[in-house]
Amino acid sequence: MIAELGHYALVLALLAAVTQAAFGLIGPAVGKPAWSAVARSATSAQFMLATISLGALVWAFVQNDFSVEYVASNSNSALPLLYRISAVWGAHEGSLLLWAWILAGWTLAVSWRSDGLPEGFAARVLGILGLVSIGFLLFTLATSNPFARLEPAVPDGRDLNPLLQDPALAAHPPMLYAGYVGLSVAFAFACAAMIEGRLDQTWARWTRPWTTVAWAFLTVGIALGSWWAYYELGWGGYWFWDPVENASFMPWLVGTALIHSLAVTEKRGLFKSWTLLLAILAFSLSLLGTFLVRSGVLVSVHSFAADPARGMFILIFLVMIIGGALTLYAWRAPLLRSEAGFEFTSRESFLLFNNILLVVAAAAIFAGTMAPLISDALGLGTLSVGRQYFDPVFLLPILPLLALAAVGLHSGWKRGRVTERRAAILWTLLASVLVTLLLVLGVWEGAKILTPVGFALGVWLILSPLIDPIDRWRRKLTLTPALLGMALAHASLGVFVVSITAVESYTRERDLALAVGEAGQVGEFEYRLTGLSGVEGPNYDALRGEVVVTENGKPVGVLYPEKRNYWVQRQVMTEAGIDMQLTRDVFVALGEDLGAGRWSVRAQVRPLINYVWFAAVLMALGGIWAACDRRYRREPHA
């Protein structure tokens, strides 16, 4: 009964979305302001109905209602409660419902916080968001209904994929979708502006906080996925350039360009058509990512549902929404040219390069991700692309970008005045080089070619954003959240670069064959297997190894890597044993039984790896801090 209620609520939500889109877009077009109020009410209704629908699905999971097919496929009575809830978005149908719900929620937030916007414009924004909602709700109801009943019902379910039975991965989709959906807000703002044929600095000021917060969510979502991959997948990797990872990374890159381009549009009224295009592009990539994951066109370990029919639906939706937006763009963008100017070393100049290099990076990843598909479609045969392509092709535009960022942080608007800051720039550069030498020669031994480059750029990026705030603080000027948030975000980027450089340059790993009582050596670390025992969990039984790790004879800790056998799905999973310290992770994973009492054990030492994700979270916090600045909340002067 509850499932039917959920289904019905979803249908009503679709109707609400249609109302929202119709009244939101037609109202301003025919000059009926009363219709915007209808659009707003429809927004509230859509959210309430979507909540009921999602709630019904959550209820079905919590109550173990295995007469619902989706629940039967993804849950089990032995599944812990937390994962019964996160199983709601563990597979295709439920994750779409989550998308739709988050979209309804963001739309409602825009509706509530839009007091400073002209009514017609706000209505149009809600209208565009309504169109997107229609797409997702229709797709869900037509092809991916999570409330379908199973006749006859089964006594118990097939359990949630054990890989998803993890707190980080439970949080990963909501964060990621919050990011994608947030980018749709920027998209809606852009479309509304194009429809009205008006895009000014005030528009940019409205759009910026929404986009920055969306970007922050996306950052956290990607970081969660990467962290999870590291400790869960058993061999210590954290990024694979897998098509679905790329599908989230491309919108992130373009989203980063967007928030910077918005800054230029807000300050100087420049880059208007760039900003519009980036907003369209960022959201397009989010939609495209959805398409790639669900249509079976790409080979990926991550594919949700290889179903060409679903792929077709999303493709048509893509064509309508993005095609529509790009048509608007071709029509309106020529009218938006400004005659303002800026000098060669101005901040605008640096941000122009920022835009270009980030888009080139995203395009390169796009090419690599789509290459197999393109090659096949053109009849050029199957193509295979891995990190050997993505790594160099990504670094090509990004390394110069990092250097430009370190300098650009000192530049002023319009005039640049970089020479005035020459001392600061050179001192920070010198400091970076010195720290690099210290790290490469003193702290760690050996280095790859890019190691000193990475360290130098990273440290430079940590130091550069600090100069301006310190200078202002000294001169007793106000330190706004916008300024501090920006400094934090850029410094965190520096931390990220340093830690990735360390991980990629100095990770040590060996695969050992150990029987109980034996030990193996990785650098100064000794890994001794001291025990193997059977343990049982709520829905699995496991072989747990006890590994004592010492460094140069001094005890480091005892780690308990496990190989878990999940009963219902009959899958074997590894839980790595990780000793996390400030400067490094010691990583142990159990492999397979080699016979004669020996087991294969992967032993790794990973320097600085936790800062990779820590930096990402800090970056996101910096963005949110900046978005909270009061100036985004003041009323526009008439």
Binding site: N161, P162, L163, L233, G234, W235, A263, K267, G296, V299, V301, S303, A305, E339, A340, G341, F342, E343, F344, S346, E348, S349, L352, I356, V359, V360, A363, A364, A367, G368, A371, S375, T382, L383, S384, V385, G386, R387, Q388, Y389, V393, L396, P397, K414, R415, T480, A482, L483, D511, Q571, M573, T574, A589, L590, G591, E592, L594, S600, V601, R602
Partner: protein, 146 residues
């Protein structure tokens, strides 16, 4: 056969990756230099059965067979290029993660470079134009806060 591939691909993330630990192959070659090359090569070659993993990381039997083939070729003194070619002749280009540079995928390798150059051209044009305008532009404020 197609069933196998489907089983590998669709939704069984877990099957591939959960048993990823089984891919740990503690066999070491006599010579550390060979071991290094072995590591690198096995990460460059695709597991043809579970197609988004390298043979270094794939748990399936075929991956183990291919790793053994690589080991034997290394110990018999073949160069990296010869080993890649040996496997490419049997399995086709798809087995190599790094796409071989030939006229068919030249576009893939050239694309990022061309895009970068295009970007630079655009940048230079815009910068020149705006710098000219800056000389005469008195309307917008100088140096507003960030």
């Amino acid at each position: 056969m197609t069933r196998w591939l489907r089983v590998c691909r669709v939704g069984l993330l877990a099957l591939l990756l959960s048993s990823s630990a089984l891919a740990i192959d503690p066999i070491e070659l006599s010579d550390p230099a060979l071991q290094e090359r072995y590591r690198d090569l096995t990460h460059e070659l695709r597991c043809m059965q579970c197609q988004n993993q390298s043979i270094a990381d794939s748990p399936v039997g075929l991956a183990g067979d291919l790793r053994r083939e690589v080991r034997e070729l290394l110990e018999s003194g073949k160069t990296d290029a010869e080993i890649r070619e040996h496997l490419r002749a049997r399995y086709g280009d798809f087995i190599l993660f790094r796409p071989v540079f030939n006229w068919r995928n030249a576009w893939l390798w050239a694309a990022p470079v061309i895009l970068l150059l295009l970007g630079l051209v655009v940048a230079v044009r815009v910068l020149r134009q705006r710098a000219r305008l800056a000389a005469t532009d008195t309307t917008s404020p100088d140096d507003p806060a960030p």
